[in-house]
Symmetry: D3
Subunit: 231 residues, 6 copies
C-alpha cells in the first residue's frame, strides 16, 4: 500500500488523472457492465452500499488513508479535490465511525467532488440525501471522530478490498463500486460499449420467450458436461 516506510503523513499534490473523456464515458455504463468489461476484477466488496438509491457517478480518484476514529485527513484531502473527482477513503483498520457529514460534504462539493467512497461510516445521511451528495460506505453511524493523527493523501490505497491509485476512475451505482486503472480507462470504456452493443437485441429475444439456453447455444455444452433430464 506504500512504497516507502516514510510515506505516512504525505500529501501528493500532483497526480495524473485518467483521461476525463474516458472517465465520463465509463460513467455511462453500470458498475456490473464495467466490471465485466474489466475481466471481473476491480470491484469493491459488496458491503459498500449507497446511502440512497439511484445514484450513479464516475470520477477520478483522489485518495486518503485514515486511522480508526480520526478524520483529520478528510480536511487535508479536501484541498486536493479537482472538478470531477471522487474521494476514496481507506482505513488502516476496520472502523464504523462517522467520518463524514454535511459540513464536509458542502466543502467537498464546493471543491468539485462528485461523491465519497469510504470504507467506514458516514453520518448526517438525511442531509446528504437532501443535498444529493452520494456516498458509498460500509456503515451509517453518528459516532464522531477526533483530529489527532496523520494519514496520507493521494497514495495508493486498498479500499474495501480494491486497490485504488490516485487518478484511477471510480464508477459507483446501486450495484456497488468498481475501479478502473487510469491507464486502461479508454480501453475499458470501449470494452464496456462493446458489451452493451447487442444487449437490446438480446433483451428483446428473451422478452419474447426465447431461452438463454438457445440464444447462447448452451444445450450442447451442457449435455457434454453430463446434464441429464428426467421426467
Amino acid at each position: 500500500m506504500i512504497v516507502s516506510i516514510n510515506e505516512l503523513g504525505v500529501v501528493r499534490r500532483n497526480i495524473t488523472r485518467a483521461d476525463r473523456a474516458a472517465a465520463d464515458r465509463l460513467g455511462g455504463f453500470g458498475v456490473a457492465t464495467v466490471h465485466e468489461a474489466m475481466g471481473r476484477v476491480g470491484l469493491m466488496q459488496p458491503y459498500m452500499r449507497p446511502i440512497y438509491a439511484g445514484a450513479h457517478v464516475a470520477g477520478t480518484a483522489v485518495t486518503v488513508l485514515l486511522h480508526p476514529g480520526d478524520n483529520w485527513m478528510m480536511h487535508v484531502v479536501a484541498e486536493q479535490i479537482r472538478e470531477g473527482d471522487v474521494v476514496v477513503a481507506a482505513l488502516t483498520a476496520e472502523c464504523t465511525d462517522g467520518f463524514f457529514g454535511d459540513l464536509l460534504a458542502t466543502s467537498f462539493r464546493a471543491r468539485g467532488a462528485r461523491a465519497l467512497i469510504i470504507d467506514a461510516g458516514v453520518r448526517d445521511v438525511r442531509d446528504l440525501t437532501a443535498m444529493g451528495f452520494p456516498v458509498w460506505s460500509k456503515a451509517i453511524s453518528a459516532k464522531g471522530t477526533v483530529k489527532a493523527t496523520l494519514g496520507s493523501v493521494n497514495i495508493p490505497v486498498v479500499c474495501a478490498g480494491a486497490l485504488v491509485n490516485p487518478g484511477d476512475v471510480v464508477i459507483a451505482d446501486d450495484d456497488g463500486v468498481v475501479v478502473v486503472p487510469a491507464a486502461v480507462a479508454a480501453q475499458a470504456a470501449d470494452a464496456a460499449a462493446a458489451r452493451e452493443a447487442n444487449e437490446a437485441e438480446k433483451r428483446a429475444k428473451l422478452a419474447s420467450g426465447e431461452l438463454g439456453l438457445d440464444m447462447y447455444k448452451m444445450r450442447e455444452p451442457l449435455a457434454k458436461a453430463g446434464l441429464k433430464y428426467i421426467d
Copy 2:
C-alpha cells in the same frame, strides 16, 4: 439435500406443484401470518431481504442448486418455469456474487416467473426495480459469474436455512420469505385465514387503549409466574 449421489447434474422436468388456488390464497396473507399459521417453521433466515420495499408475492417453487461463482444453471432453470412460479436458488456454499441481472429477469418473466429467491447476490437492481421484478437475496453485488459447472434443477434444496421442495409454495414480503410444503398449502391457508379473522377486532380494541394484558387475559398467568410490581 439430495437422495442419491448421482443427483447432481439433473433436471427434473415434471414436478407436482401445489394447488394454484391454495398458493394464491396464501399470497393474500403476510409472511408473518403464514409463518404463525405453520406453527413457526419454514422461514428463511432474516438476512434474505427484498431489493425494493413493498413487494409481496406467492408462487410455486422451481428450485435450482448453484455452485459459488457459477450461474450456468440459471439458464437451465429458466426453461422449467411455468406461469405462477417463483424461482428458488440455493448454493452449495456461501457466495455473494451477482448471479442474476436484468437479462435473466427478462427471461424469467417471459416464462411466467413472479420472483426470484436467491441465497447469494444479484445485480442490476436499479433495472430490476424499474421492471418491478422482485428479488429476495442475501446480497447485492456487481460481481459476475462463470458458466462452467453443473448443478441441478428441481431437486429439494436448502435455501437460507429453509428446505424447499419443488412445487412448494413460497410467500415473500418485506418481512422475509416463508415456505409452505405443497401437501399442506390449503390447510395452511385455512389456518392463516383463521388467524386473521379476528385481527380487526383486536386492533380496534388495542387502538382504543385496551391492553393486551387484559385482552389476552395475561394478568393471572404473569402473577403465577411470579411477576412483581413495585412502586
Copy 3:
C-alpha cells in the same frame, strides 16, 4: 444491569422521567449533534437501523428486558407507557426474532409511545411504515415468539451497547440512536444548541470554497505533526 439478583420479574411503575421540555428540545437536534454534545458517548451500535427513512424522534425511555424468542413482557411494558415515551427493549442474549408487529404498535401508540428501539427483530414492517410508527431494530424478521418467560420492566438495561435507565432521553434518526441520562438532559440540550449555533456560518464558508484547513486553522498543527507535501 441489575442491582439485585431478585430483580428479574419486576415491573417498576414509578420512574422519574427526564424533564419533558428538555427531552423535546433534544428532539430538535440530530443524533450526531447530540452525541457530540455528550462528549461522544451514549450511542447505540450502528447495526440499529430505522425500518423506514426519515423518522426522527425523541422521548423518555421505558425499558423492558426480554429473553430470546419470548415477547411476553412487551405486553407488560405497554401498560407502563406514558405520552411521550419511547420503549427501549433489550435482550438477555442475541436474537433476531420478530418481537413486535402492527398489533403491538397499535397498542403502544394508543398508550402514547413515540417509537420502539429494540435490540432484536420486528415484523409487519409494511404496516408499521403505513402507520408511521417508527422502529429502530437490529433485524427485520417474520419469526414469531412465545409468551412463557418473565423479564423485567423499567430496570436499567443495556441495549445495543448503550446503558439506558428508565426515564433517560432517547433520540433517534437516520444516523442511529443516542441516549442522554435524565439528569443531564437540559445540559445536553444546551450543549447541542451551542454546537449548532454557528453551523450555518460554517456551512456558508465551506460552500463558498473556503477550506476546513483554514477555517479551523489546521495548517500549523498539521505541519507540526509532520505532514509533508510533495509534488
Copy 4:
C-alpha cells in the same frame, strides 16, 4: 422441514437408521473426502466448529428441533438416543445460547451418543473437553436456556444449512460436518474409498517435486483456456 403443520410437538420413536457398517466405514474417512465422494453436497456451513481439535466421529442422526432460548427438547431427545447415534440439533431461528453442558453430555453419553452437532451455542466446554465428548457448534456461550416450549424429535431438520433426516449418517472432524443420506451410505463409503485409494501414490509423487500440472495433465487444458506465461 415439516410435512404437516401438526408436526411440531412430535417425537418419532421408530426411525430407520443407516446401516451401521456403512456408517462406521464412513467414519474412517475425513469430512472433505466424504463431501467430495458425495458430489460436493451435504456440508454444513463452515461456522460449525469443534469445541476441541482432533475429534473425528461418525454416527446415525437423531434430530431435534429447538426454539431460541429453550432447551426443553434436549431432554426429550436423550431418550431416543441409541448406541452409535449423533444428536443433531436445529433451531427455528438464529440463537447463540448455551443449550448443552456437562450434565446433558453425561446423559447423552450414557445413552450411547457419540457427539452433538448443534446450530447454536454450548457451554461447560472445559468439562466437555475433559470428558472427551465432542461437540460441533456455532458458538460457545454460558447463556442458559428455559424449558417452556415444545419442539420436535426425529423430524427432518435443516441444521447449519444442511438437511438432516433421522437416521442419516453424520461425519464430523476438524474440517466441518457432512451429512450422508441413509439410503446412499454404503454407496458413499465406496466412493470415498475409491477416492482415497490412489492418494498415497499421488502424495508420494507430489512430495518428490512432481507438479499437479503434470500429474493431472493440466497443461493442455490451461493453454486451451488461454493461460499465458510471461517472463
Copy 5:
C-alpha cells in the same frame, strides 16, 4: 454510561471493590453456574473469547473507556490496579485494533491484575500465553494504536453488552465472561454454591442412564404441553 457530560477525561481513584472473599468464592464456580445463579443476566456477548484455553479467573473490576484506535488510557488505568483486580476495557465504538500486548501485560501483572477483558483486539498473544496472563477479547490483531485522546477510568462502562461498575466482580472462563454487581457478590456466591451442591448426585444418576425426563419430572408437563409420541 456516564452520569454527567463532564465525565470524560476523568479518573476515579477511590472505588468500592466487592468483598474480596466473595469475589474469590465466585472464582470457584464456572461462568455458566454464576450466570444461572444470577437469574441469567450479566453475561458479556459470546464473541468475547479467551486467547488461550483453560484460563479461569475472578477479580474486582477496574474499568477503562477507550476510543477506537487509541490506547492512551491503558497506561492511566494501570496505576489504578490493585492486587486481585481485573481490568475491563470498553470502547466508545467498535474496533478490533490491538490495544494491549506483552509490555502492558507485564505492567498490569506487576500492579496485581489477574486478567484483561477488552471489547476490542489484543496482540502478542504468543507472549501473553507464555506469561500465563489471560485475556478475553473480541479480536486478535497486530494493529497498533495511538496515544492522543482522553477516555476515562473507573466510570461505569458497557463492555460487550454488559454493564460493569468499578468494583464489580468479573468471572471469566472458557465459556465467557459474567459480571456480578459488588452489592450482590456474596448473595450470588451463595446461590452458585446452592446450584452446585447437588450436581454430583445428578451427574451420577445421568451417568447411570437415568433420564432428565424422569429426574426432573418432565413427562407430565410435556404431555400437558401437548407432546405426542408416534411410532
Copy 6:
C-alpha cells in the same frame, strides 16, 4: 489490482524477490513489531487466523488470484514457488470454500514454500497441522472446488485488505499477517530491530512496578489534555 485488462490468465515467471537476508531478518520479529516499524500499515484484516497456534514464518510472496469456488490456479502457482517463498492467494470475491488441503501442501512444501496465506478456506487442517505446514486463512471448510476458470499468478493482488506485490516479504504469526514491500525490506528490518532494542529494558522496568505513565513521561501531556483525577 491489474495494470491491463488483458492481465487475467497470466503467469509471470520472473519476479524480483526481496533480499533473502532482509526477509529472514524480518522473520526474527513478531508481526506486531514489523507493523509498528512500518508506520502501522501493511496488515491484513484480523479475520486471517492461523490453523494452529505457534507458527511464525517469513518469506517472499508468490501471488495467485483465484475465482470463488475454483482452485485451478493453485496448481499453476505451485510451479512458480522457489525455496523460501510464501504463497499468497487472493480472491476476486468473498468465498469460504476449501481451496487447499494436504495434497497441495505436500506439493507446495516440495517446491520450497514455507506457508500459505489465503483469503478463503482450507481443509485437511488436521493433516496440515501434523505436517507442520502453516496456513493463515479466513475459514476452515471441507467444501471442495472445481478447476474451470483462469486466474493469474504473480500479479499484484489485494489479500484480506492488504496489497501484495510478488516478491514482497510476508511475515505471519499468531497476531496476524503483515506485508513489507520488497524495496523497503532492509529498512523495515532495521526499524524493527531498533524498536526491539530497548524492549528488554522497558519490560524489566514495568515488571518492577514502574508505570508507563512515568516511563513514557505521559503525566504532563495527559494533564494538558485535561485529564482530571477525582477521589
